[in-house]
Amino acid sequence: MEPATRLDHNHKLSLREFPYIIRWRDDRCKRCGRCTAVCPVKAIVPSVKVQRVVESAGQIPAPTAVRKTVHVVEQVTDMERYCTGCGSCTLVCPNEAIEPEFNQANKFLHYKNKGGDGYKRGGRRNDPSISTLDRIKFTRISMLTDPALDAGRHEFRIRTLLGRVMSPEAMPLKVVNGRLEVDKKDVFVPPVREIYPIMIGSMSVGALSPPMWEGLAMGVAYLNEVEGMPVVMCSGEGGMPPRLLRSRYLKYFIIQIASGYFGWDEIVRALPHMVEDPAAIEIKYGQGAKPGDGGLLMAQKVLKLISKIRGVPQFVDLASPPTHQTKYSIEEAVAKMIQSMSMAWGFRVPVYPKISGSKTARAVLNNLARNPYAAGLSIDGEDGGTGAAYNVSMDKMGHPIASNLRECYLDLVKQGKQNELPLIAAGGVGKKGNLAANAAALIMLGASAVSIGKYIMQTASDCFGDEFNRCNLCNTGQCPRGITTQDPKLYRRLDSDRVAERVVEVFKAADVELKKIFAPMGRSTELPIGMSDGLSIDDKAMAERLGISYAC
């Protein structure tokens, strides 16, 4: 029997268990050490080995075995330092000598629970399959019976409403000399904003690095002020930079209040000094990526700036409770919260809740439909992203957005309130990069607007993450791109101007693509909300569930 010297280390894992295996090429490597220095998790180390090398010198082959001390780059087999596949090593390597390779047969989740705690990460559901949204096709093309429109020449109105819209019957109008006049006496006309139908969803200052958040904010301001596209962005839980709260740009932002109320000291203090109202207030009750979990900002990300904005000490885990502590019933507590928030801004600002996609979404919706102050409902599906959560929450909890949104919309149709309570759909919009197509599909299923988080973050800043668990270090403060870190050494890698530029590019491109979808369908004057006859899907069960046609 062979001696089992190595095998006797029974708990030592082999590289085959790891999700990514480093392919290092001895012949190309010049041993500069950049890869080992940049690796955010120290998964690779420089190492010295004694190797038997066969050499041959001279004109006639004369192989000789020699023992040599060689310098190598080696992947460690410590599960706490697993290679995340981010590929930073590849980016810094001058000679293309190293790259991580995804290991389909990995047993990562079997072992990633050391210390009795489940695997936590950032990112979103690790599910590379094609989502329902990406299976939906636009099949009602205007052909001969009516002229298709020209996406490049016709005028398109790609706008939507955020806020509680009055029913036509409730409009306080009276006819005076053959003209309609508004008679607002004793009638509350809820605030409504006209916005671009793709919103930037809630990602907090804290979850994102300063240049990332700032880049998004600058991009949004540019889109509004220069491009004339009324794109709005949600702050996420964690407040906003105090100067922004007091600026005229506040109108482009939706301020989120979540169960930890982080940042609200600063917001309340800024209230008397605000020169503009925010676009809206979002009350976060749930998040698609991790339903039932509250927000989580790990201690390593709570540095000086964050502690100041959020009003907390440095280096403490900031875990928001899974639910608002005051929430004991939707009829009372949620209604009160909506009222309180409305009151803070003199009922001039739409206030709406955000929930995670769930079978109970319809129940929430029906309660909100009866609350005249509820300005909408944002539903965040399971494919949404997060900065930090348990892997199990991300991978296994939640509801896909397509059917959840559709059933909510059809519920509103039954009540005739489909135009009164805007539905905002989120979670996986642009998962495969098809932002405009996913957005248009959700709009035609009944969404008034869609919200994007992970997509815009990745697209604007070249984030590495994907559905094969690549990188996903957002929770650790070690983001190699500088997107989700508070470490200046890391976030200086990110240029906020470049982020802003990308945001603008993404929205302008999406606008063009939306026109390329709406024009052949003969739609231009109003957003085709609920135009379900325009959609088909290649699965009968899905078609039936969504109430659209089956096409193959």
Partner: protein, 369 residues
């Protein structure tokens, strides 16, 4: 593309006039049906104006059911018009075509107009429900001083089939539509003009926003908002909803179906109302190319274009007789002696409104209100 011909006149005219105008517009193979709505009736109905007229088609069996239903609900038959059918072309005659003037049930004689309208509409819907599955009864309209005639076939042949050229049937307003909606199955309930409680319209175009509008109307809780065998029916119901249900003056119909852009609204003196309307009635905004011709209960006739102006439409005539057509040649046929320079070609902001008995033509411009 549907061919539309409407004439509003001080004198009673024969329905043949707009049908002949339709004929001038004929091109290609578009002759799949004829829809006619006559309002402000003359001839044998001139003295029956206060009685609601039920227009429709029924089979032999359907007739028995219809008679029994109307009797049971207290309607008393005062007069019946039946066309003198002349077999022409390939039109397959159905058993009974009729326009019957009824007296209201005694309990309703002194009720308000709104209550009477409710009764008439519910009666029409009940008959439609009874007769629709086996096509034993088609009930197109049931309203005082209005007759609807519809059949599948070439419009001129249909007119000849009904003997309209020899009939005494006359009216001051006639809306004629010369083709069934080819985008849907050829079916009588898919044939415009559509009528509901005194409001009528027909459309030359395609409404790509049909489904959201249909869902919005269907969910208003108003029993008359059903059917929708054609995307054009929603135009009639939006008209009814805006003017009758919400009480808007007629020209706001244009603001409902094609709201203006925000900066354009700012220039209107009624901008506050328009802003609210644009939000609350967002789902009634039409799309696709459309030109709509219609009338309201008081006898006002109008033509309106959508915001793209991709469909033709023209209005011309003389005081006392105006023609609203989808093509100029139709006007030439209907009112040849007129000042051509005064013909109106409404553009995307325009709504042509002609007062009852064709006394005054007004082009209302949306930009200026």
């Amino acid at each position: 593309m549907c061919r539309l011909a409407a004439i509003t006149s001080k004198e009673f005219i024969s329905p043949m006039e707009p049908i002949l105008a339709l004929e001038t517009m004929k091109e290609g193979h578009d002759g799949s049906g004829l829809g006619l709505v006559l309002k402000d009736l003359g001839g044998e109905f001139e003295k029956l104006k206060k009685y609601p007229v039920l227009s429709g088609i029924c089979s032999r069996e359907g007739r028995k059911i219809l008679d029994e239903y109307m009797k049971r609900h207290g309607f008393i038959l005062r007069h019946e018009w039946k066309p003198k059918i002349k077999q022409t072309g390939g039109i397959v005659p159905r058993d009974h075509y009729f326009a019957r003037a009824y007296d209201y049930p005694s309990a309703y004689r002194n009720r308000t107009l709104a209550e009477k309208e409710e009764l008439l509409m519910m009666t029409r819907l009940a008959l439609r429900k009874i007769g629709e599955p086996d096509e034993s009864i088609f009930a197109f309209s049931f309203y005082p001083d209005v007759i609807t005639i519809k059949e599948v076939g070439d419009p001129l042949e249909v007119a000849e089939f009904f003997g309209l050229d020899k009939d005494t049937l006359k009216a001051r307003i006639v809306l004629a539509q010369g083709r069934q909606n080819t985008n849907y199955a050829i079916y009588l309930y898919a044939c415009h003009p559509f009528f509901i409680q005194g409001f009528c319209s027909m459309t030359n175009g395609e409404n790509t926003a049909f489904v959201p509008i249909r869902e919005f109307l269907s969910s208003r809780g108003f029993p008359g908002y059903i059917g929708y065998n054609s995307d054009s029916e929603v135009f009639t119901h939006i008209l009814h909803y805006s003017v009758r249900q919400l009480g808007f003056p007629l020209h706001y119909y244009k603001d409902v179906i094609t709201p203006m852009k925000a900066d354009e609204i700012e220039k209107r003196s009624d901008k506050e109302a328009l802003k609210l309307m644009k939000q609350s009635m967002r789902q009634l905004c039409i799309d696709g190319p459309n030109m709509v011709i219609g009338f309201t209960p008081d006898g006002t006739v109008f033509m309106v274009q959508d915001s793209k102006k991709l469909r033709p439409g023209a209005v011309g005539g003389v005081k006392g007789k105006y023609a609203l057509m989808s093509e100029e040649c139709g006007i030439d046929r209907a009112v040849p002696k007129r000042d051509l320079a005064k013909d109106i070609f409404p553009m995307k902001y325009d709504m042509v409104i002609i007062s009852p008995q064709a006394q005054e033509v007004r082009v209302w411009n949306q930009l200026h209100g």
